[in-house]
């Protein structure tokens, strides 16, 4: 347990020390709100029923969690390159404890960022959640963070270098964002893309956030589309499967040492 605390604490210290990362994580949703919001608002089909900026709010919070947790978990790649991962692997901790610590750090980091952004964003778009909505929102953020953190760990354990990492950002993050319902309702998509949306953990997170924040617009068709328990179960499933796979990949021999061996030859 102390090891998990150590791993989580290090994530937070590192994050807070990187000013650019802190500013980016808080500023990013507002950039989307202003620029994407301005453009999409004009073409948004439901603009008579709901202000597009309000519609975007749950999606933007989901985006904050996605970036926050995914990037934190992907720091495992930099840990490997910098050698820090070896210090962790040679410690008397089980591989699954390492995976859990990393995912938990990512979750908490994503959650903290979402709370800070929500505190600014929601008043800004005049969205006042009910207490129950706020609590459900917190559940949504934590579960999404866990699922994203686990996914980030799987990616980090299977990709080797930072260059690949940029590719991952383009081929994982953006499709996930666009297929999440953050910018337009998933039900407007064609059957193929809609099927793709339902293997996207972020879609369940954003859906849950819509249940939490857009309850007032549910009848107009802009609240959550799936049942709340299904969203929660899907996110939990992504988290469990992701953590299991990540622990296996981390434990797989040569995860670190083989690269070291190759470098030396």
């Amino acid at each position: 347990m102390r090891a998990v605390y150590g791993i989580v604490a290090r994530e937070f210290v590192r994050f807070l020390r990187q000013r650019g990362r802190v500013l980016a994580s808080i500023g990013r949703p507002f950039v989307w709100l202003v620029f994407a919001g301005a453009g999409f608002a004009a073409v948004f089909a439901g603009r008579n029923e709901i202000d597009y900026r309000v519609y975007m709010a749950p999606g933007l919070l989901g985006m904050v969690v996605m970036f926050g947790s995914l990037l934190a978990a992907l720091s495992t790649v930099t840990d490997r390159e910098a050698g820090v991962l070896r210090m962790v692997l040679v410690a008397p901790i089980r591989r699954r404890t390492i995976a859990f610590g990393k995912a938990l750090g990512a979750t908490l980091l994503g959650t903290a960022q979402a709370i800070v952004v929500a505190a600014i964003l929601l008043p800004f778009v005049h969205l006042r959640p009910t207490l129950a909505g706020a609590l459900l929102g917190l559940v949504a953020v934590v579960l999404s963070g866990l699922a994203m953190g686990a996914l980030g760990l799987v990616l980090a354990a299977s990709i080797r270098s930072i260059e690949n990492f940029a590719g991952v950002m383009n081929f994982v993050v953006f499709p996930m964002l666009f297929l999440s319902g953050a910018l337009y309702p998933v039900r407007h998509l064609g059957p193929v893309l809609r099927a793709a949306a339902y293997v996207n953990p972020l879609a369940y997170g954003v859906d849950l956030l819509k249940h939490a924040l857009l309850g007032g617009w549910a009848r107009a068709g802009y609240g959550g589309e799936l049942p709340v328990p299904l969203d929660c179960a899907a996110l939990a499933l992504f988290a469990i499967v992701g953590l299991t796979v990540a622990a296996l990949l981390l434990g797989r021999e040569g995860g670190v040492t083989r690269t070291a061996f190759r470098e030396r030859r």
């Binding site: 102390r2 090891a3 605390y5 150590g6 791993i7 604490a9 290090r10 210290v13 590192r14 020390r17 990187q18 910098a82 050698g83 820090v84 070896r86 210090m87 962790v88 692997l89 040679v90 410690a91 008397p92 901790i93 089980r94 021999e253 040569g254 670190v256 040492t257 083989r258 070291a260 061996f261 030396r264 030859r265």
Partner: protein, 250 residues
């Protein structure tokens, strides 16, 4: 009968078609200063990683601190310290933060870790730099901090994998003094890998590895006598037919 700190039987490792380590029989006694000597690619680091449970053996068995490296990985890792060839410190964290992080990874309670970290920082002359990011430290200081990290949990066996690589002569000398001090103070077993012959001279015993095979084993004096050689360098030449790297090949 003395207890063996390390007992490897027929230990081997393949990477695909590459036989990194063939079948190594090796016994390191408790408290011994043991040198694993060989050129780059001889299988030294593979041996260390197998013994430290970072790699699974392809064949053979090994017991480290009386624990099996395959079945009792956690117990092995609890008993050993490992200083890797390249630093494992987080460059963005301070020296003290790195040691605190390590203390948590090894589950040391804060009340145990704090005085120990202070003592190590003093012993390794890092007290004044404790709150500086590791990034700002010289190579020698970083290495000192790495070793402090490696012995923080008071292991009974310390692995040093090419610890002097990339250090200037003065930093090397002070490193060897620290190792000597540690061994004198705690009876620590030390397994050193190196491709510098002169670094293996002070070892109690030396194993010469070449192409994943044990080429020779004995005290430096025995090895020289057996080979009719004046230096370990000539011993190595006699056993392997080629010379060790003279320069720092990394």
């Amino acid at each position: 009968m003395t207890t063996a700190a390390i007992d490897a039987r027929g230990l081997g490792k393949d990477f695909g078609a590459l036989r990194a380590l063939d079948r190594l029989d090796l016994e390191v006694r408790d408290g011994e200063f043991f040198g694993l000597l060989g050129p780059n690619g001889a299988g030294k680091t593979t041996t260390v990683h197998l013994l430290a449970t970072l790699l699974a053996p392809s064949r053979g068995t090994a017991r480290v601190a009386a624990h099996d490296v395959v079945r009792e990985g956690l117990a092995v890792r609890r008993s050993i310290g490992l200083v890797f060839q390249e630093t494992t410190l987080d460059r963005d964290l301070t020296v003290a933060e790195n040691l605190r992080f390590a203390a948590r990874l090894w589950s040391l309670p804060a009340r145990v870790a704090r005085p120990r970290i202070d003592a190590l920082l003093r012993q390794f002359e890092l007290l004044e730099r404790r709150d500086d990011p590791v990034r700002t430290l010289s190579g020698g200081m970083r290495r000192a901090a790495d070793i402090a990290r490696g012995i923080l949990h008071e292991p009974s066996i310390l692995f040093l994998d090419e610890p002097t690589a990339g250090l200037d002569p003065r930093a090397r000398r002070s490193l060897w003094e620290r190792i000597r001090g540690l061994r004198a103070a705690s009876g620590l077993t030390v397994l050193l890998t190196t491709h510098y012959v002169e670094e293996a001279e002070p070892c109690d015993r030396v194993a010469v590895l070449d192409h994943g095979r044990l080429a020779a084993l004995g005290t430096p004096a025995e090895l020289k006598r057996a080979a009719g050689a004046g230096s370990l360098e000539e011993v190595f030449l006699a056993h392997t037919g080629h010379r060790l790297a003279e320069s720092d090949g990394g």
